[in-house]
Symmetry: C4
Subunit: 349 residues, 4 copies
């Protein structure tokens, strides 16, 4: 998603919100209207361009039927259609809320989240069934107990369900509250069930998320590890082992990775890109496959030089903890790092 699109979304949604604030809109309605139309124009244009691209590539149906295609269409068409249908502008522009959905496909963690929801759908649905059963039974019970004394709040089962859902989610508005002793006992049980539902939900999501995070990190790191010659000598079992220990870091150009004098607790392998080491008197560049920062793990706690990326780079970070485990399990790697570290110390003196 381009920065222009993000700016348009933020500006559009902000204007839409402002439109509903009586005094603010009265004071600046020319600006608000102009910006709203500008954002709408931007989204219509964006949709037109994307549609044309899709037609050009023969993927028009794939695009139109995708979530992204639907959001693009709704962003471009919803407001004009509503205006054309004679709905008042203040209501019509509210449909600009579709613009907000354009941000979603750009969020990386959402894919991971969706996988968790799909894989754990079984247990999550079970909890939902429990939730609904408790909800219905509590509503019927409270309706029976309270509808004579509080016809306003518990006059029908749907009205009692409004109370039940606010209670079972522990939201507790307090606009409708049981007042008979038995009704309150049932309400107390519902609240405690609410805690339980909460706990189950969290437990399932926590379990699923932990597994997914591990999996995602492994997948991203695996490709990079095999590109680093340093690990090439390892067999596939050891590479799988090493992959679990490394963390992929993507960095733009001209970013400081290590600052001189800071305490360090990890070393880095360059899986793609290039970094520049700012040694006293000279600058050294390290390319793909090189490693640096190992001295912090070999006893010298403070970083001895500034290191910056020179272009977009991908690094693999190895934590102190995992460094030690790695050295323990693969002593030959430890010796290689040790030898290189000594060579560098000599060279820099």
């Amino acid at each position: 998603m381009t920065k222009a699109a993000i700016a348009a979304v933020i500006c559009g949604v902000a204007m839409m919100v402002l439109l509903t604030v009586e005094p603010a809109y009265a004071a600046a309605h020319h600006w608000v209207d102009a910006l709203l139309w500008a954002c709408l124009a931007f989204f219509v244009l964006e949709w037109a361009i994307r549609l044309r691209h899709a037609f050009g590539a023969g993927r028009q149906w794939a695009y139109v039927c995708s979530f992204r295609g639907f959001v693009d269409a709704a962003s471009a068409l919803a407001v004009p259609i509503a205006l054309a249908a004679g709905i008042s502008p203040r209501s019509a522009w509210l449909l600009g809320i579709f613009w907000m959905l354009k941000v979603l496909p750009g969020v990386r963690g959402l894919r991971q989240l969706r996988r968790v929801l799909v894989l754990e759908s079984g247990p999550l649905l079970s909890v939902l069934v429990i939730f609904l059963t408790v909800l219905f039974m509590a509503s019927v019970a409270e309706f029976y107990l309270e509808h004579d004394v509080q016809p306003a709040g518990f006059g029908s089962v749907p009205a009692a369900m409004w109370w039940a859902v606010a209670t079972l989610t522990t939201t507790g508005y307090g606009d409708v509250v049981p007042i008979t002793p038995l009704g309150r006992i049932i309400a107390a049980v519902v609240m405690i069930c609410g805690l339980g539902v909460f706990g189950l939900w969290t437990g399932i999501l926590a379990t699923g998320f932990a597994a997914e995070t591990r999996r995602d990190n492994f997948l991203r790191t695996w490709e990079s590890v095999s590109k680093v010659p340093f690990f090439a000598s390892l067999g596939p079992a050891a590479i799988a082992d090493v992959t679990h220990m490394l963390r992929t870091i993507d960095l733009p150009a001209r970013t400081a990775i290590i600052r001189k004098g800071q305490a360090g607790d990890c070393m880095y392998f360059i899986s793609s890109g290039e970094v520049e080491v700012d040694l006293p008197g000279k600058k050294v560049t390290l390319g793909e496959g090189a490693f640096f920062g190992e001295m912090a793990l070999l006893g010298n706690n403070l970083r001895s030089a500034n290191i910056t990326t020179t272009r977009v780079s991908q690094l693999l970070a190895l934590d102190l903890v995992d460094f030690r485990l790695l050295m323990a399990r693969h002593p030959d790697l430890g010796e290689t790092i040790d030898a290189e570290a000594k060579r560098r110390v000599l060279e820099n003196k």
Copy 2:
């Protein structure tokens, strides 16, 4: 549970809810009454048939004493008995809430949930005791501090407990609130304890659920793994290892598993059933024990053919992550897959 039964439950409960909504019922009371009686008739019939079956098989007591038997009986008898006892129809039909319980035995995750509750009952009960102790002590303290200034809200210990339970579960209706300074300090402590109780509850359930999910998956997958000849050469230790990596997927007939051109990140083994591979110019069927989708894991990221089930099938999915671990630990399996993949590529060219 048949689809008819589910429809009857949904229709019955919906009508029961509608019955309590004054204007809706007034507008369509003929329909509502007719549907309620129809649902009741359905459940009476269902119960009669099940009872007869149980008698026929000599398991009548087992059936009558089981949860399912109790729910069936209550669904069939509760409303008629209440009506016969002279209770007003609007109240009597509320007993139709029993119908909802018929859904529960059909939810697969509930068995898993029950096991968690049984196995973790010790810690869960401890948390309940803490909950109750805090509840009682807070109620007595607030009753002492507040009952003179707020006789309506804190006039007795049970009344104070109503406040305490709403506070300790962080529901917070706000209908009764302490107003003395000391009462508010105690209330603050109760709220923080509420967070703690919540945390413990969730922690216990999360731990238990994670273990149970692993166990359940292992059990379901173990049977299938031993049926796949591909894994037959492995010793029992390796099979236990492999079982942890696979995920069982049950599919109905004529379901698309792989779509051409999509990105793939897992391969499949057929433990039962049959799939059809839609290659250009011909259709190939793969039966029990075969595997497919391996090319996505061997470097070719996009699926090269549509694959659909031809009848009810059970597949074992192997994720990219686990595929690599498996290949690392059992290189011979990797070679088998590699050889088969090459053979297929040649054949398709």
Copy 3:
């Protein structure tokens, strides 16, 4: 804790609660008073007996200074002292809430809980510091923003803290609510921080609890495993391995463990006590070190006999999942179980 003591606690606390309910007490004040005095007499007697025992064993100081000693003393003395000091009976009897604390030392999970709180005290305190910092900063900010428009609710920082604690714990009474725009934005941030504090708290407790549960189970099971001759042949590393797989179950006498015809998914080892197998025509007793239920794990899914304990027994349960892992890692154990199962089948035929 004896059953009499539990009954006295329940009866005493119930009477104390009843004492505060105007109409109920008016109707039955003779009974309530009599029962309260009876309970008090019981606790005084209990305390006297325990004190004498402790003096007899020379452990009087250890007893008096322990939590149990303090609770016993408070249970026996608090109410009489309050009455003697001229406090009105209705208030004095409220001190009977100390009786409730007598239940706590009997709850087994509490020791486990205390260990978690001690071991995780570092992170938990950090979260508390964050909680308090947010609480104070939000209170001061809201006091500044709101005290002119709402002198009743936000008239001082302590008053604002009452709002802040109800908001940060997501209780949300709604008795005091910010109304200025900036005040509401700060309140929204506080609510979201509340979610975060909740999450951290739960995360820490969940992590700690999982570790503690594993540890507790290991400790309880280790002793039993070494008593079972079946495992005696294993080296210490394998015993540690096996211990992780088994679950200790304590059963009273005459309890059914297995019911004929049920589906089974675990086998049992007897670490102490005795069970009776109800075979057709004869009864077989199995003593310490024997195992049973193994046929369910060797393919025959339904239990073939009723098995009951004859006296207080301790069993070690081995789940189907773990049985398979065990057999895979220690094939000799598998052969022993297999041989015994075959011998039994022959014998029973």
Copy 4:
């Protein structure tokens, strides 16, 4: 952070709070004012001293730009500047809330917490995006549905967002509540989404925290383990293994570690410092590298002597569970401990 500084922070913040409580301030305004000025003087002095130190060491910019430097400056300058700018004293002293931030750098767990937030920032941001999307969409929908019937509560989208944030965080003030049927259905969905957001947040933090706790403990323990000669004979792989089992405990001088007669379930290694064993008739001191408490793990359940630190010491605790695993995996260590234990028993007789 010195104790004087902590006292000044507590005193200063307490006085600032007191300043806002009308009656308390009226009664003791001389004291409150005096203490406030004293605290301010303390913080100004502290800042001056630290600035001078930093200048002396040539690190003035590092100090000024750090969080600590900023807080020190704000603590010293905010109140005087506000007073000088003519703000009323009651408002100006509220800026003393900056003093509270001085406590934060001293809290050890915060560093750990920050790492979790940084490492898990991806998923946490995803959840935040979901949170905001639901928030905006719910606000717009409720504004549309409710603003005609409740112009006070839902008169603009920002007003509706106030309701939405209180609902989505399950705070539920209840000051603004939807009353149209459709509005309530949407509100129910928002509440259930609130549970989901909660669950995701907790799940992510729990996962991250568990990993961070393990890492932190490993790092702290690793240094100590290598200092204990007892473990020196182990190879690096075994040391990594052992490190995972030990727990570092820092103790001040003259602290009781073991009390005679208590039940024990762990043994200790001294990584630095010294302890004194109070045997009958003599006192034995154990120095760096020694171990004690092993008898509790070798069958003798009750501690046989009091053991106290003589100076600041660091111990490594080995739990019963891990002791057994360690002995199983490294039998030679077990023999060493056994031999030493026997020698001690003989010596003490």
